[in-house]
């Protein structure tokens, strides 16, 4: 006992020491998608640490980057809206940026602090979600495609969204675990407009997803990396850049952008962009952070780590980058004869009006709670309840008998 008390005191001392050493550092809170930055793992560049160093060298002050991640735009929105945590830099997708602007949740950027904005290609300005280029600076863009394992999937089945509904591969299909992308897959398959406000069309998509449910192995986001790489799952729709990441670990994985009969893309084209949320504690520092991330070295490090297409000319014009990526990857990320601006208007998600948003939310709930599970569990549970009640009655009867006996 005494020793335990000793250990305890030692821990208290340790705690007091570590408290004492914690100084008041300036902090920039960055909230980003998971697996969406070059984080220094396996010998890559740790861009956040590099920024801390850069800041110290330039401004002579030590700061700290507090980096946290989310799994989907909706998760990010919930966290931001609750006011539970304060962030200085966030990287939502286009439709979510439109929503945040509409709800007055973003700060206007001070571009004089972000001279590297000049690196961003002209093509990525004046996009619908931020028409006057005041709130956001594009980080990456890309399209959703379908990834499949060529050892399992017959190549003849590939090419369209139908692959995700192919009952041949029941139990090996993964679906997005976020409402917008999951409904997107169903709507593209049905040929509906993904930005529709028609309730019946959303319901049609829901029915399609429900029909898919028995075939689906799981609803996942970044868990997809392990599941596809290990061969646990064979088919999934995900972002093109992430496919390139996966093929590094499993060469059997193949990829296609779903098209219609005329060869037009039928999928989502998205932009993820840096924003600063309202109430950011340290806006100027956030802008310096964004500016640094747009400069050549970290931007290339990020683009090479996450494999998403970059709107940053310092990246896509760099010979080093092109060499490192390789021809095949460049073809997937930057398809030939692909005008971003033209396609973006056709293929992007838009922010939905609040009524439709509510509807989509409710339908998503309905999908997630509707799935049928094995009757065996219910039968067992009922048997247990019956058994318990039976035991209770038996017990009561015995007790009464005994009482009689004693009297």
């Amino acid at each position: 006992m005494k020793r335990i008390a000793l250990i305890f005191t030692a821990l208290v001392c340790l705690f007091l020491c570590s408290c004492g050493s914690q100084s008041e550092k300036k902090v920039v809170n960055v909230y980003n998608w998971g697996e969406y930055i070059s984080d220094g793992s396996e010998g890559t560049m740790d861009v956040n640490a590099a920024f801390e160093e850069y800041y110290y060298e330039t401004y002579g002050e030590a700061i700290e980057v507090v980096y946290t991640t989310y799994a989907s735009n909706e998760d990010m929105y919930a966290k931001l809206k609750s006011g539970a945590a304060g962030y200085d830099v966030i990287i939502p997708s286009d439709y979510m940026i439109a929503r945040l602007i509409e709800e007055d949740m973003l700060e206007k950027l001070d571009f004089s602090n972000i001279p590297n904005y000049a690196n961003i290609s002209e093509e990525f300005r004046d996009l619908y979600y931020d028409p006057s280029n005041e709130y956001s600076i594009p980080y990456t863009y890309g399209m959703v495609g379908v990834i499949y394992n060529s050892t399992v999937v017959d190549e003849a089945d590939a090419g369209t969204w139908d692959l995700l509904w192919n009952s041949k591969y029941s139990g090996r299909i993964l679906q997005f675990n976020n409402s917008r992308d999951a409904f997107g897959t169903a709507m593209y398959k049905l040929g509906l407009d993904v930005n529709t406000t028609s309730e019946s069309e959303w319901r049609m998509a829901l029915e399609e997803l429900k029909a898919q449910q028995p075939l689906v192995q799981g609803y996942v986001m970044d868990e997809i990396f392990n599941k596809m790489e290990s061969g646990e799952a064979a088919i999934s729709a995900y972002y093109a850049g992430d496919y390139l990441c996966m093929t590094e670990n499993n060469e059997d994985l193949c990829f296609f952008y779903p098209t219609d009969e005329d060869g037009n893309y039928v999928t989502n084209l998205f932009v993820d962009a840096y924003c600063i949320p309202k109430g950011a504690a340290n806006k100027e520092l956030a802008e310096i952070y964004i500016n640094y991330m747009l400069s050549e070295e970290p931007a290339i490090a990020n683009a090479e780590y996450i494999y998403y297409a970059s709107p940053n000319s310092a990246v896509y014009e760099s010979e080093v980058y092109m060499d490192d990526m390789g021809e095949e990857a460049m073809e997937i990320l930057y398809p030939e004869d692909f005008s971003f601006h033209e396609n973006y208007n056709k293929l992007s998600y838009h922010n939905l009006d609040s009524e439709t948003l509510q509807l989509v939310n409710n339908l998503w709930e309905e999908l997630k709670i509707s799935s049928a599970t094995g009757e065996v569990v219910y039968v067992l549970a009922i048997l247990i309840i019956v058994g318990l009640i039976g035991y209770g009655i038996y017990h009561a009867v015995i007790k009464r008998k005994r009482e009689k006996y004693y009297i």
Binding site: S41, A85, E223
Partner: protein, 269 residues
């Protein structure tokens, strides 16, 4: 019958330890697969120890566990003594019922109820960030309190009240009587309560998950966010290290207890 029960016990232990054994095995995997073993390497341990986020999560967890268990032990012990001396049995019962709520409630309900409180209050106060170290600390103290009180209370009940009175008859002030008579008698209860609080706080995921904001990540939360992303065996390496640490601590404490017993036996002789 004897062999049957031995076989059964062994079987359960094998099942209980199989996942842990597999995890330890794969922490030494050379490739980044968590399913196929390709060769022995310490690579993932190196990766783990060079990851500042994990190390700071470890530090946070320890700080949180120590602080919350200390605060809970102090408040809880004082409260247990106070409650046991209350004259009104109904008040006593009412207090104990409320105290036990966090113990009986599912963690998720405790977590979200606190989160709602913190978010609501800070929105009213206009704070930019409501959740962080402070809120997690409050939450942990709250769910630790019943365990401390429940382990101190029986010791107080077992104690002979006449001893205190005797001490006071012999000239002690009530405070001295408490320090010299009551406190040593309930100390084992306090210590076991503190240890319990410490381990619960160390292990808690659900309540921290709902009450933490950004910038304060405990180890379980770190593990959670790791399993939401691409999982590499460095998570297994982390778990293996935790497992070894716990094993060593348990063996040490057992040895220490054994020593204590020997000493008392010798003293008796």
């Amino acid at each position: 019958m004897k062999t049957l029960s031995k076989v059964y016990t062994m079987l359960i232990f094998v099942i209980l330890y199989a996942p842990i054994a597999v995890m330890v095995l794969f922490s030494f995997n050379a490739s980044n697969s968590t399913g196929v073993f390709t060769g022995f390497s310490l690579y993932w341990y190196k990766e783990l120890l060079s990851d500042p986020a994990t190390l700071s999560a470890l530090k946070n967890t320890l700080i949180l566990a120590v602080t919350s268990s200390c605060i809970a032990t102090i408040i809880g012990t004082v409260a247990a003594v106070g409650i046991s001396k209350l004259k009104n049995k109904h008040t006593q019962n009412a207090i104990m019922t409320v105290t036990n709520i966090p113990m009986m409630n599912p963690d998720i309900v405790t977590g979200i109820s606190m989160m709602l409180l913190f978010v609501f209050v800070s929105a009213k106060l206009g704070a930019s960030q409501s959740l962080g170290f402070g809120t997690v600390l409050i939450a942990h103290v709250t769910f630790n309190l019943p365990y401390v009180i429940l382990s101190v209370m029986p010791k107080i009940r077992q104690m002979d009240r006449h001893l205190t009175e005797a001490a006071m008859d012999l000239g002690c002030t009530p405070f001295q009587a408490f320090c010299k008579v009551e406190f040593p008698a309930i100390l084992p209860g306090i210590i076991s309560g503190a240890i319990m609080a410490f381990t619960l706080s160390l292990d808690d995921f659900v309540i921290s998950y709902f009450t933490t904001g950004n910038g304060f990540e405990t180890l379980p939360i770190r593990i959670y966010s790791m399993t939401k992303k691409r999982v590499t065996p460095d998570m297994y390496a982390l778990s293996t290290l935790i497992f070894i640490a716990v094993l060593v601590l348990l063996i040490l404490s057992n040895v220490a207890q054994g020593d204590d017993k020997k000493k008392t036996r010798r003293a008796k002789k």
